[in-house]
């Protein structure tokens, strides 16, 4: 009974044509006002998929509900903490994030949707985390964060908030193309003793179960993600490490050129989905 109530609250429309393991048909509206696209046609360069789905569509109704209200979403504790960091002067330059960027909800609008992206001055592809650390060391003259640390992840979450609902729109051509190609090759490369590529699970078998886990398409429009499993915000490259470790391989380190390339490619597979970060998953 409880389950039925929850399902109704999410607005679940049962469809006979879909198997129970596939993506559901629920619609994601946060706080009753931010409509987020969780299903879109796949970008032309994604060979193995015709439709793309956010990982939200593969989760249980109660997990989905938790993300639909910022008060219930535990990630917002970290967002609140990062807001304090944003306004606090740190480092030798005597500046805070707010000194240059002002109100994060205004200045960072749309930023999350386009990262990772090319940085012309540095001549490299930068993830959001790399950009945050560059800002810290160059502008604040402060210590950089560890790539997957709680502070970094919280700051990414804060910066993502004003972009929620905007379509992911990561550039795949021009100066980033070679990095993107590298990421694509990694995505289809089998790693580890189990000889699994990203595509084996997230392209060939999404919707199926891998033991007790309901495989999604591995979209990263929701990162950083609050996971019920470890009750904290998780950084996307931390998640990549977890995935590769599970193939029984030596993983790359977070922030490595390999993972930057993979993040760019995986992000581009979600072009068209709405930014959900910080999202809630199991």
């Amino acid at each position: 009974m409880l389950r039925t109530t929850t399902a109704l609250a999410v607005g679940l429309i049962a469809t006979a044509t879909l198997g129970w393991a596939d993506a559901d048909e629920n619609e994601l509206v946060v706080n009753g006002e931010i409509e987020i696209t969780t299903h879109a046609p796949a970008p032309a360069y994604v060979d193995g998929l015709t439709e793309i789905y956010s990982g939200w569509r593969f989760r249980e109704p109660d997990t989905q509900l938790t993300q639909m209200d910022d008060f219930d979403n535990p990630a917002f504790l970290a967002v609140d903490a990062a807001q304090i960091t944003w306004d606090t002067v740190e480092g030798e330059a005597g500046k805070s994030c707010a000194s240059c960027h002002g109100d994060v909800m205004e200045s960072m609008k749309g930023v999350r949707a386009t990262y990772p992206k090319w940085n012309e001055t540095a001549g490299e592809v930068r993830t959001l985390a790399m950009q945050i650390n560059d800002c810290r060391t160059e502008n604040l003259k402060a210590e950089p964060y560890d790539y997957t640390s709680g502070k970094m992840t919280a700051m990414e979450a804060l910066i993502s908030v004003p972009s929620r609902g905007m379509p992911v729109n990561v550039a795949v051509d021009g100066p980033v193309q070679s990095t993107w190609e590298q990421g694509k090759e990694m995505y289809y490369t089998r790693y580890g003793q189990l000889e699994l590529s990203c595509a084996n699970c997230h392209e060939d078998n999404y919707g199926n179960y891998i033991r007790a886990d309901h495989l999604s398409q591995g979209q990263i429009n929701g990162f950083p993600v609050y996971r019920l499993k470890n009750t904290k915000l998780n950084q996307v490259q931390d998640r990549f490490q977890g995935c590769i470790r599970d193939t029984r391989a030596e993983t790359f380190s977070a922030g490595s050129p390999e993972f930057v390339a993979l993040e760019l490619y995986v992000a581009s597979r979600g072009n068209g989905l709405g930014v959900e970060a910080p999202s809630v998953r199991n």
Partner: protein, 109 residues
């Protein structure tokens, strides 16, 4: 010393007269119980929120005494009857003497 304490409150913006509404509150606080020891074996002093109150237009709605066993980031969800337009005032009292406040207006129409 508690740091990064931030209260959060959720109250509907409007209600009909006499309606029972649900209020949710959460305050980020480490709620150090006073029972733990640090790596050198010294007792970590107790630092918790010891009282939480909610008032509506000066009238008390709820007054809670909190004890050390209450977990980090204490969350309260309760119901209140709203007779008229007014303001809910929320107050948390910290062991260190700090008082954290928040308020939310509600319109009866």
């Amino acid at each position: 010393m508690a740091s990064g304490v931030k209260p959060r409150v959720k109250v509907p913006a409007s209600a009909s007269a006499g309606e029972v509404i649900t209020i949710k509150t959460l305050i980020s606080h480490q709620m150090e119980s006073g029972q733990r020891k640090d790596s050198d074996g010294n007792k970590i002093p107790r630092s918790i929120i010891n009282r939480f109150t909610c008032d509506f237009n000066g009238e008390n709605v709820i007054d809670v005494t909190m004890e050390p066993a209450i977990s980090t980031n204490p969350y309260f969800e309760f119901q209140a009857t709203v007779p008229e337009t007014g303001e809910f005032k929320f107050t948390w009292y910290d062991d260190d003497g700090s008082v954290y406040e928040d308020s939310k207006p509600i319109t009866v129409g």
